[in-house]
């Protein structure tokens, strides 16, 4: 992983875009792990169908990754003969196999390590010059350990020299020179940054894979901007601490994954009923129960949309690329604060734990702001839950004289007094629904690309693969349009109708065994045609080829 991170940095230095996902076994530390990297001269938002190069330092447990490391006969496998025979699953792919004596070459260098030989070799094969590599090594090692730096540079050079004689080069198109306006970010850190950009100053959370990095980021970044981070005793405490802080006027966030989201649903109901803003980033993993904690699926959709008890309108949004985790989380904070309700940001493992080289994100102006309250005139009572036309009621911040009220999860009157009358219940339900339905979400509700009489509707991390499939299909003469929903709930019927004008066939792409997204779309939207569903479980990422093949058969 260290070498892969350095490789990515060097590629960025050389001007390439990249997407780097990781896959590991169930071990806590060490053990078998694979670094999956894709490079290009344009931004990359998807994995590819197969890998061009597989470099194996050893074969420990590597068979387990066979499905995640698809190879073809055009692929190149580089391995150390001292590691033993190439496992049958990889031989069967027909890939070209070449030997590189990584261990021996490393031994010739004092302090040399095989992973540096590997790093130099791969870089050479795809055409990343030694310059950016040594630059990166310098940044991470030079100051701390001069001897390690020397050994690493020697290793990289030896690896590159050895690879030059291997044949089978997989050179990339030349990249533009390094652009100062590029970022390197993971989806989880991006979500944390987006939260702070949106105004979040409080986070209470409980660790859970694959959401923990959101918390790690916030734990270190929040105090710098005057915010507070607390490690709570569980998810019940997390969400409720957030509600307390939010009631006090601090925009608040927590992050979790499926099992934690289940524990939070009662608290989310309180946020809805008491109209207290709160944001939860759910980094989806494979479920049900503890499922597969380190891998991706999009199967928390049902609980996100329908998991709350009672009629509980709330916001559900979803980022559709690693970089978009920044924007969508920021937007989620803005929406939650503006609408005084809960907003779920449905990220997923493939977005959250992948590292990407992206164009610097725009600094957008979405900062959460609540509708401020004014103290009532002498003798009048303050109506915290006033039935306004927009459905949004002014919200005081404790400390403001004259606006004392009790925030309540019990149904209440406009003043907040508990009430069991049907008229109060209907009035408040209407109000809480109306504020969400009538809000202007602008064109952020979806990412829409291309034109055609087929529409591919998708969400989350499937978006990248769908985009690439649509592009490939276009080259084959099949015209399709990509619609990736960012605002999952509430629905936008008119916007969707506009986006689907002229569309004759629909393909819904998602990573869920039950087709949760397909069902959701069919249940909530008037679609012009019965959609075809390309829906399968995780943990293997959706590949462009699968979608491309479906588009070709639909285009016939």
């Amino acid at each position: 992983m260290t070498a892969a991170n350095m490789f990515l940095d060097a590629a960025a230095e050389a001007g390439y875009y990249a997407l780097f996902g990781r896959s590991s076994g169930p071990q806590i530390r060490g053990g078998e792990a694979a670094a999956l990297v894709r490079l290009g001269v344009e931004p990359i938002t998807s994995v590819d169908d197969t890998f061009d190069i597989m470099l194996a330092i050893d074969w420990q447990g590597v068979q387990r990754f066979a499905a995640e490391l698809p190879l073809s006969k055009n692929s190149l496998v580089i391995c150390d003969p001292s590691a033993g025979d190439v496992p049958e699953v990889y031989v069967k792919t027909g890939a070209k196999i070449v030997h590189l004596h990584m261990k021996d070459l490393a031994k010739e260098i004092p302090g040399g390590r095989p992973n540096m030989i590997a790093l130099g070799a791969v870089a050479e094969l795809i055409g990343i010059p030694v310059g950016p590599l040594t630059e990166v090594l310098g940044k991470s090692l030079k100051k701390k350990r001069a001897d390690a730096y020397e050994a690493s540079v020697a290793g990289v050079k030896a690896g590159a020299a050895a690879a030059a004689t291997l044949g089978g080069s997989k050179r990339l198109a030349a990249a533009k020179a390094k652009d100062a306006k590029r970022w390197t970010v993971t989806g989880n850190y991006g979500a944390g940054l987006g939260a702070i950009r949106g105004g979040v100053r409080f986070c209470a959370a409980y660790p859970i894979t694959p959401a923990t990095e959101v918390l790690e980021y916030l734990a270190s970044a929040l105090p710098k901007v005057g915010g507070v981070f607390v490690q709570a005793e569980d998810e019940l405490a997390s969400i409720n601490m957030c509600l307390g802080a939010s009631y006090g006027g601090e925009a608040s966030i927590t992050s979790t994954a499926g099992p934690g989201l289940s524990l939070m649903t009662e608290g989310l109901g309180l946020a809805v009923a008491s109209e207290t803003p709160v944001v939860v980033v759910d980094v989806q993993r494979v479920g049900p129960s503890t499922g597969i904690a380190t891998k991706c699926e999009q199967s928390d959709l049902n609980i996100a949309v329908y998991g709350l008890h009672g009629d509980a309108p709330h916001l559900v949004v979803a980022p559709n690329s690693v970089g978009d985790c920044i924007f969508t989380t920021q937007w989620g904070v803005y929406l939650a604060e503006s609408l005084q309700t809960a907003c779920l940001v449905m990220s997923d493992q493939a977005l959250g734990q992948s590292r990407a080289i992206i164009d610097a994100p725009a600094d957008v102006a979405f900062v959460g702001k609540r509708l401020a309250a004014v103290a009532p005139a002498e003798g009048e009572v303050f109506k915290r839950y006033a039935n306004t036309a927009s459905g949004i009621s002014p919200m005081p911040i404790p400390g403001q004289p004259g606006c004392q009220y009790t925030s309540d999860g019990l149904e209440h009157t406009e003043t907040g007094t508990p009430s069991s009358q049907s008229s109060d219940h209907t009035l408040q339900l209407d109000k809480r629904q109306r504020k969400l339905t009538n809000f202007d979400y602008g064109n952020h509700w979806a990412t829409i690309e291309g034109e055609g009489d087929i529409a591919v509707i998708t969400w989350g991390s499937c978006t990248g693969a769908a985009r690439e499939a649509v592009e490939r299909a276009r080259a084959d003469g099949v015209k399709a349009k990509l619609i990736s929903l960012r605002l999952i709930s509430p629905i936008r019927p008119q916007h969707m109708a506009d986006a689907l004008k002229g569309v004759k066939k629909i393909l819904v792409v998602e990573q869920s065994h039950q087709g949760q997204f397909t069902r959701y779309l069919r249940g909530e939207y008037d679609l012009p045609a019965k959609p075809e569903s390309l829906s399968r479980s995780g943990p293997l990422p959706m590949r462009p080829g699968e979608i491309h093949a479906r588009l070709l058969s639909m285009g016939k």
């Binding site: 950009r197 005057g226 405490a237 409720n240 802080a245 939010s246 601090e250 600094d363 404790p398 508990p418």
Partner: protein, 279 residues
């Protein structure tokens, strides 16, 4: 304790709301409400600078009856809500209140961790050794042989009652006291001391449920004010609490652990954070 900027002085009445309590006539919780509002007034606090946070139960209805920034949250989560509020807004006086079922059963885990964490809030539990709101089931503090409930097996639950004060001590609580709703003035004094004490302070207030545990009317004869000097020695406090019969009122322990939470101070602009991601 939070300093009060306002020069106006408020009376206990200013801390009461217009909302009429749903409590049964004779419920001990009325007196607890009076003790809380009296303590706020005695401390010179202002309604807009105080907050009363609760969970769910008869006793947890209390925020609506106060004229403060109240939160009536969900069953068992009041301490989490209250700690979040205080950490987000250290300038407010935050009082968390509720019942024994709310605090020690569904909310038991939060109770342990609130004692450990030591956020500067005051937690009041109106202990009636029963679930009032759901009509008379045994709670964690119910005597093991109490079986006058549709949900308790004949002969009682057979479970050892929870000892909230001893558990609070073992979990690291910094201020431990017991009050009795039949002595509202004494209880108001204890609450005021608890609010003034830095860090987490825990006050169990014996508050009879005359509807489901009529025999608790007799508490006025059994509860006693011990008037002892609060110890700062946890070992002595432990002895005191382990030999306690549940009827001793007063401040039983005062620790000196510093309160949790750092001062909130921005050292960077939000745009500074971008640097970590730029190549």
């Amino acid at each position: 304790m939070t300093s009060c900027e306002s020069t106006a002085t408020y009376t206990a009445k200013d801390f009461k709301s217009e909302v009429k309590p749903v409590w049964c006539p004779g419920c001990g919780d009325y007196a607890v409400l009076s003790s809380i509002t009296k303590a706020f007034a005695d401390l010179g606090l202002a309604p807009h600078q105080t907050s009363v946070v609760s969970g769910i139960g008869c006793s947890s209805r209390i925020p609506a009856y106060t004229n403060t920034y109240g939160i009536h949250s969900i069953h068992g989560r009041a301490l989490a809500v209250g700690q979040g509020l205080k950490l987000g807004r250290p300038d407010l006086t935050v009082l968390v209140a509720g019942g024994d079922g709310d605090g020690f059963s569904i909310g038991g885990n939060h109770f342990l961790h609130a004692c450990r964490r030591n956020v500067d809030i005051t937690y009041i539990v109106m202990d009636n050794r029963v679930y009032g709101m759901t009509k008379g089931q045994p709670s964690p503090t119910t005597e093991s042989d109490w079986d006058a409930s549709a949900m308790a097996p004949p002969g009682g639950t057979g479970m050892t009652p929870f000892h909230p004060l001893a558990i609070a001590l073992a979990s690291g609580a910094n201020f431990i006291a017991r009050g009795f709703s039949g002595d509202p003035n004494g209880t108001a004094q204890i609450i005021a001391e608890a609010i003034k004490h830095p860090g987490f302070s825990f006050v169990a207030i014996m508050s009879p449920c005359i509807t489901f545990r009529e025999e608790q009317r007799d508490w006025k004869n059994t509860m006693r004010n011990v008037n002892i000097e609060p110890t700062t020695d946890p070992a002595q406090a432990a002895r005191r609490l382990m030999t306690d019969d549940g009827f001793n009122c007063g401040i039983l322990y005062r620790g000196d652990r510093p309160a949790y939470g750092k001062e909130k101070k921005a050292t960077n602009a939000v745009s500074d954070l971008d640097r970590e991601f730029t190549l």
